[in-house]
């Protein structure tokens, strides 16, 4: 016997949402959520521990979704879901007053210096216009940790694990140095270009 969701398999995320808004069939949202449940679980796991709590959060988000998805205008379901799951977890953490602790544990810079995909795309276009000759100069202006991590990761094309091994920094620190270093590089190169 075919599963009830099989007839919807060929539809895109947005088409599924559109159809759900028309006929209210919960199977549609079930299918949609299952497409992205691995992302939801991963994100929930990052913010909530133990694993069971993360799993509960994923299910709670799903139940909320069934009730409220009709009220939202969604253009990209996956990134919208990511925001929903993340906010749900942060709210939960806030309720439990553990937010500060988690931030300290996870490393201060990971959250604050992550950059938005769209913003990056725009910046990428900008950066193409900037003379890459200034990269070398800008790189020299970075602090030692950032400079080392950037050189190892981008120029020598080492993996995270290798950079961790070579530098002795933690994985979170390595990521943070790379992200911060990249951001500073851009700023310095743009500044040099404008001046």
């Amino acid at each position: 016997m075919p599963l009830p969701e099989e007839k919807y398999l060929h539809l895109s995320d947005l088409e599924l949402i559109q159809l759900f808004k028309l006929n209210g069939d919960a199977v549609i949202i079930g299918l949609l959520y299952k497409r992205h449940v691995s992302m939801a679980l991963g994100v929930a796991n990052k913010y909530l521990q133990p694993e069971d709590e993360a799993k509960d959060a994923v299910m709670q988000v799903f139940e909320q979704l069934l009730k409220t998805i009709n009220h939202h205008k969604i253009e990209n379901f996956k990134s919208w879901l990511y925001s929903v799951v993340k906010n749900f977890c942060l709210m939960k953490l806030r309720k439990e007053k553990n937010l500060t602790m988690v931030r300290e544990e996870e490393g201060k810079n990971i959250f604050s210096f992550m950059e938005k995909e769209q913003l990056l795309h725009q910046e990428e276009e900008k950066m193409k216009e900037i003379n890459l000759n200034s990269l070398e100069t800008a790189l020299k202006m970075l602090n030692e940790e950032q400079k080392v991590c950037i050189e190892l990761f981008y120029l020598q094309q080492k993996s995270y694990a290798e950079v961790v091994e070579l530098t002795g920094y933690t994985l979170n620190n390595v990521k943070s140095f790379i992200q911060n270093g990249k951001r500073n590089l851009k700023l310095k190169m743009q500044g040099a270009h404008e001046s």
Partner: protein
């Protein structure tokens, strides 16, 4: 200058890898190239990075089992949601509400006609009234409540079967007699008024002006009024609203709205005239409340009805239809009008009253200079009363009429559009009208 940084991938933007690839990365089941592309992406993408970091906190072996158990839970939730009656499943609470409504209507109906029967009894001579057990009970209650304790009265109380007998047979003090007189008069007031008066009271309280042949009784105690015309025959009463007759009703904050009554019920009452009249009053009340309900927010109401009908039909919409609808809209956006017309025709075979698609087709016709077809479609949309789309159709029609030098037709439509509940449409119509002036 050494350009060693040009190939460094520093500012290269990458698309999100698939969740499967990210999971493989976490499990360490990717080749060097894949690993490199994932890591380059993770620096830039907060979402993927969070996901990967979350999984890195788990035992790789547990990931699959966790995901599987989540999928099972999702299926269970969906099934529970469906069995609860949410979503597309049959909504039991609607059925329950309908049954409850029927029950209440039945009770009210019974209560209403029982009171009419009592009214008829009250209208009969005293001797006939006493034959009625219900009335006798009322009198007894009045007596027992008001008379002070005395042996004689106690006797009457101890013999409830005889309480229906005339009270005059009981010996009383002058005070008791006086009290009883008051009690009796009170009892009389408690009895419902005779049918004709009751009916008039009802008419007055509900502000109904009832025209029976040439006898016109008017009452205007409240703001709203319903005017009904009646044609009566000797044995049977037929109440037919002429097509010209209108029910005028006003509701708070809404201007009076004319509603044609030609579709209201035509009925004949064969027996009792009073009951017949009461029935008519009841029917008039029902019609009045209908009229008031419609008058309250006519446009909103019509739109709600349209939406209800549309949602009913949309329950049956299948996925191909949704795709087709999207394609039609896309064709309109990309100005592929012939395709839009072709697909609209296909869609309208299944859903002939879909305003959105008819409006799309009209737009396509209009853009391809097939104005007569466009007019036909826009007129249909306008008549379907589907809210904003209908009001927009009026504007579009007016524009076409103006192009065709049919200024009067255009004016009429624009004037109609100025009454739209949608401000933008009303304002636009007003502007166009001003231009015409």
């Amino acid at each position: 200058m050494n350009h060693k940084y040009t190939d460094s991938d520093i500012f290269k933007h990458t698309e999100c890898p698939s969740d499967a690839l990210l999971l493989s990365y976490v499990k360490g089941k990717v080749n060097h190239e894949q690993k490199r592309s994932v890591e380059l992406h993770l620096i830039d993408c907060e979402m993927c990075n969070d996901m990967v970091e979350g999984y890195q906190r788990m035992q790789p072996k547990q990931i699959d089992s966790q995901l599987k158990s989540l999928e099972t839970k999702i299926n269970e939730t969906v099934a529970a949601h469906q069995s609860k009656g949410g979503g597309a499943a049959f909504k039991w609470y609607y059925a329950a509400a309908a049954v409850l409504l029927f029950g209440l209507t039945g009770i009210l109906y019974q209560f209403y006609f029982k009171s009419i029967e009592e009214t008829k009894v009250a209208d009969l001579p005293q001797s006939h009234q006493l034959e009625s057990p219900s009335h006798a009970d009322t009198t007894t209650t009045a007596q027992t409540n008001l008379a002070p304790p005395s042996e004689d009265v106690d006797d009457s109380k101890s013999m409830p079967d005889e309480s229906a007998k005339p009270i005059k047979s009981v010996t009383k003090t002058p005070y008791i007699a006086q009290d009883e007189a008051v009690a009796e008069s009170d009892a009389v007031y408690e009895v419902p008024a005779p049918p004709v008066y009751q009916q008039q009271e009802k008419l007055a309280s509900e502000s109904v002006v009832f025209d029976a042949k040439k006898n016109t009784a008017e009452s205007a105690t409240s703001g709203s009024s319903v005017v009904l015309n009646e044609t009566s025959t000797a044995q049977s009463y037929k109440w037919e609203a002429n097509p010209d007759d209108k029910v005028k009703a006003t509701a708070p904050a809404v201007e009076s709205v004319d509603l044609n009554m030609d579709e209201q019920a035509t009925f004949a009452i064969e027996s009792d005239k009073n009951i017949g009249v009461n029935k008519k009053v009841k029917s008039a009340t029902t019609n009045k409340s209908k009229a008031q309900a419609e008058a309250a927010t006519p446009a909103a109401k019509k739109e709600a009805i349209y939406k209800q009908e549309e949602s009913k039909s949309l329950k049956d919409v299948n996925t191909d239809d949704v795709k087709l609808l999207n394609e039609i809209k896309e064709h309109i956006d990309t100005k592929q009008y012939s395709e839009a017309i072709q697909k609209s025709n296909l869609y309208l075979k299944t859903y002939p009253k879909n305003c959105e698609v008819i409006a799309c087709r009209a737009q396509a016709y209009e853009s391809t200079n097939q104005s007569s077809k466009a007019i036909k479609d826009y007129t249909q949309v306008s008549k379907l009363n589907c809210g904003k789309q209908s009001d927009t159709a009026n504007l579009k029609l007016a524009a076409i009429y103006l192009k065709n030098n049919q200024a009067n037709d255009a004016k009429a439509l624009l004037q109609k559009a100025t009454k739209s509940q949608y401000l933008d449409i009303a304002e636009q119509a007003k502007k166009e009208l001003d231009k015409l002036k």
